[in-house]
Amino acid sequence: MHSLVQTYGKALTTGIWLLAAIWVLGLIVLPQLFVLEQSLWWKEKSADEFEVTQRIDRLYNDVMLWQLDLSSAAPAQKTELEQKIADAEVEIARLEDMEIAAVKVYGLRNYTRMSSLHFQIFVKTIGYAALVTLLALVACYPVAYTVAQLATPNKAALLMLGLIIPYAINELLRVYAWLMILDYQGVINSFLAWLGLVDLEAKTWIPFLEYPGSVFVALIYAYVLFMVFPMYNTIETLDKNQIEAARDLGASTWRIHWRVVIPHAKPGIAVGCIMTFMLSAGSYSVPQVMTRGKSGDWFSQLIYRQFFESFNWNQGAAYSFTLLLVCIAFIFLMMTVFRVGIRDIAK
């Protein structure tokens, strides 16, 4: 804080702190608090209240009809209609007051009342996200190691560019590209047909998109950078002499990685796993595009539907908050497994 003031002066420092505070408060704390609040209450629907809701709906319909009539009505009838509309609006306001006053009940019901199907999807999604993380780790470690330790600086720059360039393309397009590759009559099946292994006419194609694996592939591709970069950054700081020293002392390639490279890269691996896991568990578009409803939903799709199809924000908020809790638990799990502190991760 003191050094900040020395570097930037009082005014600029205050500005920086203010902006940071607005950012944290406005974009992180308040929305989360709002979601948390939403998740902690629900509308108690008694039979009586159901009737009130129906009456409100009916009155709205009537008002709309009268307004339509009003435009083509004779002047004599106009005042009568206007009077009717005004009465109806008063009645609506009264009923809506009743409705709002009656509904809010606070409690944990939104959290405890997940249906068994939804719970299955929830568990499955967490499992899938963990699997995606594991696969991405296995796929990315050799890449990160090669670029960081083996490649010459020029080659490393080229390889990095090769990794980054696809990210200039919209995520949806990248996912659709995989869709085209894996579809029934997609690139792979067409190739297999050309080889004579499947028959597209007879629909004996391999239904890749019906396997969860297709979502995995697209997810790994979508988030590969988040795994590669943290690992690359840590492996790059490893003194090459340590690898040579280990080799000189007789270590096999496997032992060099297990005893020297991986322990050094642990913070990067932890960060990569955390990011990939959180992004995969919360990804909506990838499972939405890749499954097209042909294989099971992911939890993120459930949350979407709670908000925008069931209009049950309370349940949706509870679902998304549950997912957040699992992600936070995953962070702590990673920190324990890799024995790294917040400080290492922040680096």
Binding site: D239, E244, A246, R247, G250, A251, R255, P263
Partner: protein, 362 residues
């Protein structure tokens, strides 16, 4: 542990167009402390990396203990390398560092612990095994690196300027210690350094390298007293250089025409009349205030630096040449002051004439 000899036969190394090591023959005897001395970029580390197996020579062959090493990786050579920055594993405790080579060889944990304990005792670090390398001092880390390398019982220990990061006092102490360890374990040490003091004090023999070429291989004494090239004469120890043409020469002595006039010097290389020569005189061989020596000169003191055991004087001759003189400190050395006119001289046998050539840069 038994030392093995290392033989380089016409070994050269090129990186693209750049020739790091010119074709070189070198025979390092089993059990000796051998140093390769040269300025940075002279190719000494390249030789070390070829012996350790991290680089394959462009031409020629390397044999260790009579066995050709072509195609044998660093992990299967009877060598161990100590890196310039030591390259200790920072995340492992000291004893695991020391026992890492044994771990690679599948030695059970109990035996590893015991052996690491023994080696730590050898390098005077008993009871420090549980610490992390970062908790040790520079000299202690140094000794851990030695113990780690010795753990794999190498026949040849390769050291790449391992003392360069230490301060002077510690460096001098570690010299003695390294030499002691080498005598105790009896294996071949190949020591790379740019510090002539290290090479002179520790080595049985020294190879002096410049620009990819080994200029001379000799004992420290021979190297200092009888350098064979101008580079060695100026790189090892300090030397005054006088350029000139060879005049008359008789049985091992010659007279060279230098800017200071005729100078008589030893002529071990047999330079003939008219050749371009360089005459080298060590500052400690120049005497002040003497008369009747072979080479008699005079000049003015322009600088005086007290080193402790001696004072270094810079004398400027009337011809504008600068001659360095080491005046032994017997007390009362301060008699000579800057600005004094002094006469000085040196015996012909203390001056050495060599064919003109490349000098070492300061």
């Amino acid at each position: 542990m038994r030392g093995k000899d290392v033989v380089l036969d016409k070994v050269s190394m090129s990186f693209g167009d750049f020739v790091a090591v010119q074709p070189t023959d070198l025979k390092i005897t089993a059990g000796e402390f051998f140093s390769i001395l040269g300025p940075s970029g002279c190719g000494k580390t390249t030789i070390l990396r070829m012996v350790s197996g991290f680089l394959g020579p462009t031409t020629g062959t390397i044999a260790i203990g009579g066995e050709p090493m072509a195609g044998v990786g660093p992990n299967r050579r009877p060598t161990a390398l100590i890196f310039q920055n030591l390259a200790l594993f920072p995340l492992m405790p000291v004893w695991e560092n020391v026992a890492f080579g044994l771990e690679c060889r599948g030695v059970p944990k109990e035996d590893r612990r015991r052996r690491a304990g023994e080696l730590l005792e050898l390098v005077a670090l008993t009871g420090q095994g549980h610490k992390k390398p970062t908790e040790l001092s520079g000299g202690q880390r140094q000794r851990v690196a030695v113990a780690r390398a010795l753990a794999v019982e190498p026949a040849v220990l390769l050291l790449d300027e391992p003392l360069s990061a230490l301060d002077l006092k510690l460096r001098q102490h570690m010299r003695t210690e390294l030499r002691g360890i080498q005598k105790q374990v009896g294996i071949t040490f190949v020591y790379i350094t740019h510090d002539q003091g290290e090479a002179l004090t520790m080595s049985d023999r020294i190879a002096v390298m410049s620009a990819g070429v080994i200029e001379q291989v000799d004992s420290p004494d021979r190297l200092y007293d009888a350098p064979k090239t101008p580079f060695v004469a100026t790189f090892v120890g300090e030397n005054n250089v006088l350029r000139g043409k060879v005049g008359q020469q008789t049985n091992g002595m010659l007279q060279a025409e230098t800017p200071l006039g005729p100078v008589r010097a030893a002529n071990p290389r047999g330079l003939s009349h008219g050749a371009d020569a360089m005459v080298f005189v060590r500052p400690e061989r120049v005497q002040l205030g003497v008369h009747g020596v072979d080479n008699q000169l005079h000049g003015r003191v322009v600088r005086r630096e007290l080193e402790g055991p001696f004072a270094q004087l810079a004398l400027e001759t009337p011809q504008g040449e600068t001659i360095l003189v080491h005046q032994t400190n017997h007390g009362g050395a301060a008699d000579v002051r800057v600005g004094d006119e002094v006469s000085f001289g040196f015996a012909a046998r203390d001056a050495l004439a060599l064919a003109a050539g490349e000098l070492a840069r300061d």
